[in-house]
């Protein structure tokens, strides 16, 4: 039991012989924006995907809102991921055959929302993120920054309590990245959502409330000012 909204406790995860996480623990409080940084291959994306319930750790536990994530039924886990978690990846991962608005509405349709209401909500989020101009465009017709705004709108449309973002500005230039990140964080702060973001960009890390450094699959102790 923990006061944190999402927490990894002594999580271990390996891919073949490579140990990505070696007993990693991280607790994130509700409403907090935490940047996870560290060298390439340090395990930061693996930690994020374990916390988001996408990957299952071999040992250790993921807690969400006072419940052990893997004690829930498969159906409950899926519902939780769809309703309470938002996931943003580096390259948007939009469905190429769907328009911007259809991509954003997708999580609502999977949850059996009314199509008209889903469409209205999708347009509202696109407007809030400054991407209404690509509502009817296909992902192939969007710039990297536009696609990433659509991906963020899709992650936010269900009103998630936790947003997990893996290098959300990694494919963007500085100014586009700043705008996309600004849109994500201002929305999260306005709605009180918690954000866990993996980044190798120091500007992004400096936009978070707290930085956690991962090295060799373990969290580095926070430096103690003397």
């Amino acid at each position: 039991m923990s006061a944190a909204i999402v927490e990894a406790q002594a999580v271990r995860k390996a891919f073949g012989r490579t140990e990505a996480l070696r007993g990693t623990s991280l607790a994130v409080d509700e409403g907090e924006v935490v940047a996870v940084t560290g060298p390439s291959g340090s395990g930061k994306s693996t930690l994020l995907l374990c916390m988001a319930g996408v990957l299952r750790p071999e040992a250790g536990e993921i807690w969400y809102d006072g419940r052990k994530f893997h004690d829930l039924s498969e159906g409950d886990r899926t519902r939780l991921r769809r309703r309470e978690f938002g996931l943003v990846l580096q390259f948007g991962q939009l469905v190429p055959e769907l328009t911007g608005a259809q991509n954003v509405a997708l999580p609502l349709l999977l949850e059996k929302h009314d199509r008209g209401a889903a469409n209205t909500l999708a347009h509202g989020w696109l407007e809030r993120l400054g991407a209404l101009g690509v509502a009817d465009a296909l992902p192939g017709e969007m710039s990297g920054g536009e696609a990433q705004r659509v991906a963020i709108a899709r992650a936010l449309v269900t009103g998630p309590r936790v947003i997990f973002a893996d290098e959300p500005t990694g494919a963007l230039d500085t100014v586009s990245g700043e705008r996309v990140l600004g849109a994500l964080l201002s929305t999260a702060r306005a709605t009180g959502a918690t954000v866990v973001l993996v980044t190798h960009d120091n500007r992004v890390a400096a936009s978070a409330d707290r930085e956690v450094v991962i090295r060799d699959g373990a969290v580095e102790p926070a430096p103690v000012p003397r």
Partner: protein, 174 residues
């Protein structure tokens, strides 16, 4: 006075002449400007005046008189305090971070710990600047802040690379 502290760091290994100090400095910092003899002797006389070094021996063989300097206990304290204290996140002479880290490594100190604390200082400054950037809509001001952020970013990348090299060296040694 970071050159003074670099010289104190060399003297921590044992007493040395001005010539040895210059040679050791130039070998530790091959990408920096070589020290001029005049600068070595003026720095040594300032360190001596401040009680941080003392004359250990004066000898004269065939050539000119040679003075060997040694670290005093006040010099040791001053060196330890310098190594322990992260640099402010600029503006500073670009070499100061390098001088401190390399001197730490030569003395077998935990440079990794210093680098982590230094990163925290830089990131805190960057956090202030990013927040400032978010508040201003003025392009001139944004551009000026971008310049400072970009330099901090370069230092942060260097700190990360240095930490990775220190960690890799630690693995080889263990």
């Amino acid at each position: 006075m970071s050159i003074g502290h670099v010289l104190l760091g060399v003297l921590a290994a044992g007493p040395a002449h001005g010539y040895d100090l210059k040679r050791e400095h130039d070998s530790r910092f091959p990408s920096a400007k070589p020290l001029a003899y005049g600068q070595v002797y003026s720095t040594l006389s300032r360190l001596e005046r401040d009680g941080l070094v003392e004359v250990a021996e004066t000898s004269q063989d065939a050539g000119p008189e040679r003075t060997t300097f040694a670290l005093t206990s006040a010099g040791e304290t001053s060196l330890a305090a310098w190594l322990d204290e992260p640099e402010p996140a600029g503006p500073y002479a670009a070499d100061d971070l390098v001088r401190k880290t390399v001197t730490s490594l030569h003395l077998g100190a935990d440079a990794g710990d210093f680098l982590r604390r230094q990163r925290a200082v830089h990131l805190a400054r960057m956090r202030e600047l990013v927040a400032l950037q978010g508040k201003t809509a003025d392009t001139d001001e944004q551009i000026a802040v971008d310049h400072t952020i970009s330099h901090l970013d370069a230092d942060l990348r260097w700190l990360d690379t240095a930490a990775a090299r220190v960690a890799a060296r630690g693995k080889v040694l263990s």
